[in-house]
Amino acid sequence: MFYDVRYVKTRSLTISLENGRVDKVKCDESNGKAFRVLKNGFWGFYSTSAEISDDEGIRKAEENAKGKGRSRISEVEVRSGRFVLKPKIDPADVSIEEKVRLMRDVEKALRDDFIVSTRVVYIENVRIFEYMDSLGVEVFYEVPRTGMIVQAVAKGETLQFYSKRILKPAGYEIFGDNVFEIAEEVRNVLGGLIKARSPPSGKMNVVVDPSLGGVFIHEAFGHAVEADHVMQGSSVVADKIGKKVANESVNVYDDPTLREFGFYPFDDEGVKAEKKVIIENGVLKSFLHSRETSAMLNGKPGNARAQDLDFPIVRMSNTFIGEGDMSFEELLEEAKNGVYLVGSRGGETNPATGYFQFNAQFGYIVRNGELAEMIRDVSLSGNTLEILKDIKLGRGLKFNPGFCGKSGQLVPVADGSPPAFIKALVGGA
């Protein structure tokens, strides 16, 4: 019988400043334990926020391991470890009044005649994680996450909305000119958006900026290579390891060791984080694995993550597509006539069919290889097995933070991309 124990403790503070007023301040301190037992190839799981001994928790998990199955679990190479990410400025050492003062200054930078509503949200949290299993693995980490989300609504002929965020695995030191720059960008973009025209529709040439490119690769390929989908028989790339799935310029990685929002030192199964090559020179190299899927499919574990005390499942961390060598102008030239699209409110994918959707926050018409009129938010769709054939990659890799939802669990991730050229279905009015 295999068992493991997770002890998760979190502290968080969220402050909203809505139309200039401090609102919805939430302060949480929680802890709990989660237990897994693997017996006769079948998993039993128990979690609780109440006080419980490890023996009692394991016993309750074992009670649930009632069936017979084929699950196995892999051993891990690094059996113990401890990591404490000490921020340069601990948010706990900054007074709440100081945090509110910064938010008020950012909010001021958002204001303009056409801005009718503003929201600035400050976020800080710390995750303290302890793990041990019956194979002798024992790890501990403490990682803070800090950030700010800046949003506004503008009114012209239509009501328009735009949002930007900065989120990092770090402390209060992340705030500098950057938060004022994003506030200014939100204001400027909205000034254009209220006059922007409806986007066009149909299959067309699209240049994506790095933040949209990041969401694109996350939706287009990231989910399909999560090995639990492969185990379920619901991934269109299940039989594509070692095969060409993209043109030769394409390299895709998942790297939890980067200090981006998806950072973690160990995953939720106690496995030391490491960079994974998903696509190399257009060839599919590996899936993302948990200890179970790695044992079943002969891969490397390290991508099992959980929200709070939930059962860990295969997840991305910081997923990105490597740089190419084209300049932005060359990408526009390549597109000739089409659209340039920027930013994203996220997307969704069905790995079984390979169809995915992702959303851009605004863009421009590209006419004769040059940027023309501004257009409003629009979604794009495509298919995993087709979309990377025609992709062309620019220079300048950038990451964007976000939260990824899967099976009801949200985890922090970052998606990265250089500007890129793709052919996709654009659904505009």
Partner: protein, 418 residues
């Protein structure tokens, strides 16, 4: 507990303690095999205080003086104004608790999962790729200094299955306040839809009549429409629905009602202690009223509507309960000469401020003279208010999906990009 209440009485002008005790059990399916049984027992506390007219709020897995101190500290910097908390009353609402759910054991879960898998396989050679059956019991306790002392037990059950065959996939689910889940339906329907969606073909870009299933209706409206009729969003100028009495959509009536017997979102008091009630949001397309939590009802000067609900962070905000859609023209046969859409991909990316959406269809069929052909990759797009002005007819297959109670609905003249 008494010590904590004494502390709050001394240090706050008004206070509230909310406690949620949740027990859940579930079973998971992977590729037609049962893989995992889970159970969890969680207790969470939220303390809300009013000090000098502003609100402080803090949460924890333990109720302690420290938790109350944190809430009071926050009230000092908050500008969230509130004079009082609801007095708290319980309504009589039938069908929100089923004692049988408390007795669900591993054998019941194993048996239910087998029925899901077998019902799918009876339809054909599909892979019941992933699924689950989950039951939960939530015990809510709410006390406040304005007289509320309320308790309620709510049960919720759900079965979900995604079936896959070749590059085709479909999902179906059933949700209930009781342990009576239609497992055969979930298994059968997800398998049928996956099989029907095989050999999908591209269609021409253009304008089509479309029929959205209750699942697609919920996915679209809960993201693109519902937030626009929250009083808070209107007051904060994040909603286009600014004029009561104005016709914004076609002649549809939309009612929010947290007291519907057996409603998935029904309760005898909301998470702030306000009674559920029927609120007519749109009557024949005319905007009649907003829904709201307690704080914004006081701030804006309207009656509370029983829509103060708490999500995972336990902070009470406006949320729809059971939203019922009604239309005069109802028919059994609404699918001919239209694209029928079972579900949507990416509905959360809809723009709640402008109402614009552009979404990929999942399991879409072009129906012509009774003949159904699976459609490959199609996006529907437009504006939710424009779409709701083009309602042609409602079907009779009324079903509750999370907080939406609606049948399939046929819309005229929708742009489809392929």
């Amino acid at each position: 507990m008494n010590e904590i209440i004494r502390y709050l009485d001394r240090n706050a002008d008004a206070w509230e303690i909310y406690c949620e005790r949740s027990k859940s059990k579930s079973i998971s399916i992977e590729k037609g095999e049962i893989k995992l049984i889970e159970s969890s027992e969680d207790v969470d506390y939220a303390v809300r205080v009013i000090v000098n007219g502003t609100v402080g709020f803090a949460t924890s897995s333990n109720l302690s003086i420290d938790l109350c101190e944190r809430a009071i500290k926050i009230a000092k910097i908050s500008e969230e104004k509130l004079k009082e908390l609801p007095e708290g009353k319980k309504a009589e609402v039938e069908g929100v608790y089923d004692a049988k759910v408390e007795k669900v054991n591993s054998d019941w879960l194993l048996e239910s999962a087998e029925i899901l898998i077998n019902s799918a396989r009876e339809v054909g050679n599909v892979n019941p790729a992933q699924g689950y059956v989950e039951v939960s019991v939530d015990e809510i306790k709410l006390i406040n200094s304005c007289g509320a002392d309320l308790e309620e037990k709510l049960t919720f059950c759900e079965a979900f299955l995604e079936c896959v065959i070749e590059d085709s996939s479909a999902l179906e689910f059933d949700q209930s306040r009781t342990s009576k889940l239609d497992l055969e339906f979930v298994g059968r329907r997800s398998a049928e839809l996956a099989l029907e969606s095989l050999k999908a073909e591209k269609i021409e870009k253009g304008r089509y009549d479309i029929v959205l299933s209750p699942i697609a209706i919920h996915e679209l409206l809960s993201n693109a429409l519902y937030p626009a009729f929250f009083a808070e969003n209107v007051a904060k100028r994040r909603s286009p629905l600014t004029e009561l009495g104005r016709q914004y959509i076609g002649e549809i009536t939309i009612v929010d009602d947290g007291a519907i017997p057996y409603g998935l979102m029904s309760f005898s008091f909301d998470d702030e202690g306000v009674n559920p009630k029927e609120t007519i949001v749109f009557e024949g397309g005319v905007l009649k009223s907003y829904i709201t939590d307690f704080r914004h009802a006081l701030e804006i000067g309207i009656e509370p509507t029983g829509n103060g609900l708490r999500g995972e962070d336990l902070y009470p905000v406006t949320s729809p309960t059971n939203v019922v859609l009604e239309f005069d023209d109802v028919s059994d046969d609404i699918e001919d000469d239209a694209i029928v859409v079972h579900a949507l991909i990416g509905a959360h990316t809809s723009n709640p401020v402008s109402g614009d959406f552009s979404l990929e269809c999942m399991n879409a069929f072009l129906v012509k003279n009774g003949d159904r052909k699976a459609v490959k990759s199609a996006m529907i797009y437009g504006n939710v208010y424009g779409l709701l002005r083009n309602v042609e007819v409602f079907g009779k297959d009324v079903r509750q999906i999370e907080n939406t109670v609606a049948p399939s609905i046929r819309f005229g003249d929708v742009v489809v990009s392929c």
